[in-house]
Amino acid sequence: MSRTSTSPRRTAQPNLPRVLFVTGKGGSGKSTVAAALALALSDKKRTTLADLDGHLAAANLLGSMPNDEEPARVSEKLEVIALSQRTELTSFIRRIVPIAAISNRMLRSRTFGYVTAALPGLEAFLLIERLRMIAGDAALHDRFLVVDAPATGTALELLAVAGGLQGLAPAGTLNRLAGEAQAFLLDPDRFAVLLTVTPEELALREAIETAAKLRDGRIRIVGAILNRVPEALFEKDELDSLDALGTHRSLAQKRVAERAAASTARALLERAGMTTLELPMLYRAAFDEGEISMLANKLSGWLMAS
């Protein structure tokens, strides 16, 4: 994929974490932002996008189709991998039951159901473990890792699981592993969350609540991406004379209201202590690689400047 970068050639933000975990309310543009962010970062350094959303929306936006086994290469410097709780548990079971004929049948059978149900939190924990491994590898080769995470509720559960397991297993190997996973999540140089939010009441409220929970959990938040911000078009009072054009007037008022909602949202996010970057609403009939590139350019500027 080619794109023209308009961002100034400065060095990347010195304190960007190794892993950027992108989450937000369903429909707030997580996958779009994760894809654009990975593309923007890959301009500076090799980058891996880990798609945790089972529908591979971020991967698809980059025109790539990774499978469970193997990463897909988008460009020289950008690759995409698909991770799922189910896959991680599968490989865990394959390790424990090394006879393929048995482990395969087991994975296909109902037995799998009891194992997963019997080990609450294990699937999520294995996924966090895998992220920690990939992050370690990324540090070794100086790459970025962008995670297209699940929506906020599930993402918070995922981020809490290591701490939870530490409590459940007060000593022993799992306690040690959980401790290491927890240290990874709490290390601001290695891990941070980027929240996506749209200028809508519910999305905004959810973002602010999530930020508070992350702070309670001492997990770093790099900021919020305020997504789909309409460009201002009309002056104040300009629409007063439009009585004769009822529907056009309503459409213009809709634009004005959406713009105002974005300003309010930005103020509230900043008041909640989050660095906020606006991404524009793209009024385009298509939304694919070209649009992702435009958003990536916006993000590049921010990554350089902040």
Binding site: P120, L168, A169, A171, A285, F287
Partner: protein, 372 residues
């Protein structure tokens, strides 16, 4: 093509006794569920709506607080009731509390007080009955059976937990049953000497659990055994109710309604849902596209208007911007209508200019979805 379908038909709420709203997270399932319930009640029926994770505004609109885990009557203020049917009209709403529902079921069906205590204090149960995936789904199903068996109720509308996959919810009873099935009970609960009779696959499951125990020192196997043993006397009851729930979902007077929004990614997800539901032999009555864009005005009106040229330009630009979004939406909806199974209809619920806050807001959404 899409507009034609919408104008011709709608959900005939009166012909259903159960409406199940499925869909991915963040599409407004709860809103659509509440809207259908309010509309049906205003048409003179006795309706219960069970919500799963309502936004605070919606709780307010329904007059619920966060712990309304039993049905509460909603005063139909500000909603026009069909006068002939006013006597029967009734709306009750509740918010599912999976943990409490599970505790109640254990309390009701446990064979003895000791068995009940053993389950309630089991570590696996305590984890399972919390927010863990699947249990919420299963408990919604249990609560549904309870509501549906009330003969004073004409219709139940069920909102479901946000799902990544269509069958997450509908499949929940089967998954819980598998955990509790007699085979699992005997397998996990049996002393090692008796294990010869089990298949290698089952032994491997046990091996995974005990390997996990060895690595972790968690003693999970013991807890799992305790958990499944605890349910021994209750298994038949669970199996019987799961069967009833399945029959209820497939009944001719049950409508499965898939809710989505028009964004391209959501439409793709909705298509996956339709595919999975079809494969499971479940028929979808309607696909509701929530927050669809309303029709756009005509550009010629701007040209003809007597307003400053600069403002004309801006209005044209604004219209062109929204037209591009509308075009994106139309492409998605066309893809969706191609995937629509026969018998299912596509309904658009236009976006409101604010979050629904009142029963009247809900009624207007619901009215747009039903047969006039």
């Amino acid at each position: 093509m899409v507009d034609g379908i919408v104008k011709r038909r709608g959900i005939d709420l009166n012909s259903y006794r159960l409406v199940v709203c499925l869909g991915p997270g963040g599409v407004g399932k709860t809103t659509v569920s509440a809207a259908l319930a309010v509309t049906s009640a205003s048409g003179g029926r006795a309706v219960d709506v069970m919500t799963v994770d309502p936004a605070p505004r919606l709780l307010d609109a329904l007059g619920l607080d966060a712990d309304a885990s039993e049905p509460r009557t909603v005063a139909l203020d500000g909603v026009r009731i069909r006068s002939a049917a006013a006597k029967r009209a009734r709306l009750r709403a509740l918010k599912l509390d999976p943990k409490q529902t599970f505790d109640t079921i254990v309390g009701r069906y446990a064979p003895s007080a000791a068995a009940r205590e053993a389950i309630l204090s089991n570590r696996i149960y305590r984890n399972l009955s919390g927010a863990l995936a699947g249990v919420g789904d299963y408990m919604a199903m249990e609560k549904l059976l309870e509501l549906a068996s009330d003969s004073a109720t004409d219709m139940v509308v069920l909102d479901t937990p946000p799902a990544a996959e269509a069958l997450d919810f509908l499949d929940a009873p089967r998954r819980l049953l598998e955990l509790l099935s007699s085979r699992a009970v005997t397998l996990l609960g049996a002393p090692a000497g008796l294990l010869r009779q089990f298949r290698l696959v089952d032994l491997a499951a046990r091996a995974v659990l005990s390997a996990f125990d060895r690595v972790t020192g968690l003693n999970l196997l013991r807890d799992v055994q305790g958990f499944v043993r605890g349910f021994e006397g209750m298994y038949e009851g669970f199996a019987e109710r799961a069967k009833r729930a399945d029959a209820l979902l497939r009944a001719p007077d049950t409508a499965i309604v898939l809710v989505t929004t028009p964004e391209t990614a959501r439409i793709a997800q909705a298509r996956e849902f339709l595919d999975a539901l079809g494969k499971a032999g479940l028929s979808v009555s309607a696909v509701v596209v929530n927050r669809a864009m309303p029709p756009l005005p005509d550009a010629r009106e701007i040209t003809a208007a007597k307003i400053p040229p600069a403002l004309k330009q801006k209005l044209k630009r604004n219209l062109a911007d929204y037209a591009a979004l509308k075009e994106r939406e139309t492409r998605s909806l066309d893809a969706l209508s191609e995937a629509l199974p026969s018998g299912a209809q596509l309904l658009l619920s236009p976006e409101l200019d604010h979050e629904p806050k009142t029963l009247a807001d809900l009624a207007s959404i619901g009215t747009s979805l039903r047969i006039a």
